[in-house]
Amino acid sequence: MRSRTVFLGYAVILGLGLVLAEFVGVDPGWMAIALWSWLIVVIVAGASGPYTDEMLDRWSLRYDVAMDHPRREWIRARLCRARRARWAAVGLGMGVAWTPTFVGMVAPEHSGFTAVVFLGWNTPLIALIAAALGTLISELVVVQRPRGARLAALERRKWGHYVGDHWRSLLTGSSGVAVLAAAAVLSDRSRHPSTDGRVAAVAAAWTVVALVLALVGMRAIVDRPLLAVAGMDRQLDEALRADGAHHLVGAAVAMSLFGSSVALNEVLPGGLPGLLVFVFGPWFGVACWWFLARQETWNVERVRWRRA
């Protein structure tokens, strides 16, 4: 979707909402609902667009693979489908996360429902977990069994062949920190009178979910049947695995750092340290996601050879 359409949509909703609120007396909350819904539409529609040649060239440079014309179309279709699944999941996740707020606005008598998702920062986290789930689903649904001769290369595939091992350490570490922080709050409430520990516990749970999701997803990616034992097909298959792994682990890292920042903020004494962790932790997580999903170059063959 073009940026002009996006901004035009926003302007129309905003203008119409203001006019209706001012002259007809419509609740401005409806305008907020319309704006959020528009954002979801923008995300989903944007991801449904074509996977351009430029994008494909950038992808092949990132994973250092060459492809001929028929394979180019196959890869384009695969990447397009994976992107659509990821962003549709993000849109769905945002919708789920905002539902309690919507309900609170539309039917205030049921506003107790908002207590179900009681954390103010739940929206980005639910969007992140949805992105990770979308990546996982897109990886699982695109399993293609090789046709013809049943061949297997006697090379053991590992997590580290597709995404750096240090990301797993970061995931485990941040999850551990979050769990410890939650345990500290829950075990000694007298030292943390400003919180009942609920926020820290839920944040820690999110980080554990992120870790489990990454482990399960990586297992699915690594063990997915190989399409070919050698040649261009093998290289492309490995690059697709690396791409899926980067997106999945990126979303999980962002989610985990977000959760652990929230949990740490509950346990750290008020003031600058807590504030810094709370402000920079999530942004660092999002930066990691962006780097993993969009920037990091990766050549599976070279990594495998270096580790052999």
Partner: protein
């Protein structure tokens, strides 16, 4: 690169096909000692066979003393050269085992086998 394949039209069961190919590659030195074999899930997925088939083949290789299964570390190829059995000797032993099994199926004794070999190698 070392490769294994399964021929679904072959009368030889997939487990035996896999065992034979792995055994041959290990004994010939194509797969070196210390090499980690693929996980059961990975190999079963790539070959499109049941996990139990791969487990059975790996177990047979372990019984032959060619690999060691070690939980998290997976299945590792052992150094068979150090055990005194060279690759050629191992292949001769394997051929002998198969020969004796065939003779036994025909109802012949070990002595008959020896006689047959002597006749086979005697100058004509």
């Amino acid at each position: 690169m070392n490769v294994v394949s399964i021929d679904s039209s072959s009368p030889v069961p997939p487990f035996e096909q896999l065992r034979m190919q792995l055994s041959e590659q290990i004994r010939s030195g194509a797969i070196t000692a210390g090499t980690q074999l693929p996980t059961v899930r990975q190999l079963a997925g790539d070959l499109g066979i049941a996990k139990n088939t791969v487990v059975r083949a790996y177990r047979a290789l372990e019984e032959e003393g060619l690999v060691r299964a070690d939980g998290r570390a997976g299945t590792t190829v052992l150094d068979i050269g150090a055990g005194g059995e060279s690759a050629v000797a191992a292949r001769v032993a394997e051929a002998t085992r198969r020969y004796l099994a065939e003779l036994e199926r025909l109802g012949l004794s070990g002595q008959d086998a020896l006689d047959a070999v002597r006749r086979g190698v005697a100058p004509t």
